[in-house]
């Protein structure tokens, strides 16, 4: 799984800390989600997409093999 969170964060000039506070999670969680090391719950994915003004499909890219 890849994410485009970093790209969208840069678009809205948000740091990881700011995004974490807006979503209500710890900064490390945003870091791990960005790096694809943690697969967020549906609710967290939805909240991230909402904050970054996009959709879950746009934010998370699954490489089908």
């Amino acid at each position: 799984m890849r994410t485009r969170i970093k790209e969208f964060r840069a678009r809205y000039d948000l740091t990881q800390e700011e995004l974490a506070k807006k979503v209500g999670v710890r900064r490390e969680t945003i870091l791990f989600v960005e790096n694809g090391k943690y697969v967020p719950s549906l609710k967290l994915a939805h909240d991230l997409a909402k904050i970054l003004q996009t959709t879950v499909d746009e934010l998370f890219v699954f490489d089908d093999k």
Partner: protein
């Protein structure tokens, strides 16, 4: 000085004196006068383990407070999942440790003539193993993601 600052200062001073006291006790009791015996080594190791555990607990409490002041939640979905995994494996590890203590008690003492462990020593060893296992596994799983 307001009430909150006074409470914080009181906790910090109490913790500092407790830690210094435990370190001093550990150094005094850990230094053998009659030479290193298994009992002295085990007692020293237990004291060191207690000091490390206490220090880690104080640090964790301080960090939790700092994160709270910065506006971060103490736990989120990721930390809850990883702590759950750490707890699961800690239970397994503790089970094996208690089995080992049981085998030591039945076979080591009777067949191999090893020194018997008192109930308090076995309890302290189990508790320390529990705390250290959980802390270590929690750290590992949270780093891993």
């Amino acid at each position: 000085m307001d009430g909150r600052t006074a409470n914080t200062l009181w906790v910090a001073v109490t913790a500092a004196f407790s830690l210094i006291g435990f370190i001093a006790l550990g150094v005094v009791l850990g230094a053998p006068s009659e030479g290193w015996t298994l009992h002295v080594v085990l007692s020293s190791a237990i004291f060191v383990g207690i000091l490390i555990t206490l220090s880690a607990m104080l640090w964790a409490a301080w960090k939790k407070r700092q994160d709270g002041k910065a506006g971060y939640p103490a736990k989120d979905e990721r930390t809850k999942i990883q702590e759950g995994r750490a707890a699961y494996y800690t239970v397994l590890i503790l089970g094996y440790i208690m089995l080992a203590l049981l085998w030591y008690s039945f076979l080591g003492v009777d067949l191999l003539d090893l020194p018997a462990l008192s109930a308090s020593q076995a309890l302290i060893a189990s508790l320390l193993a529990n705390a250290v296992s959980f802390a270590g596994l929690r750290w590992y799983f949270l780093r891993k993601g």
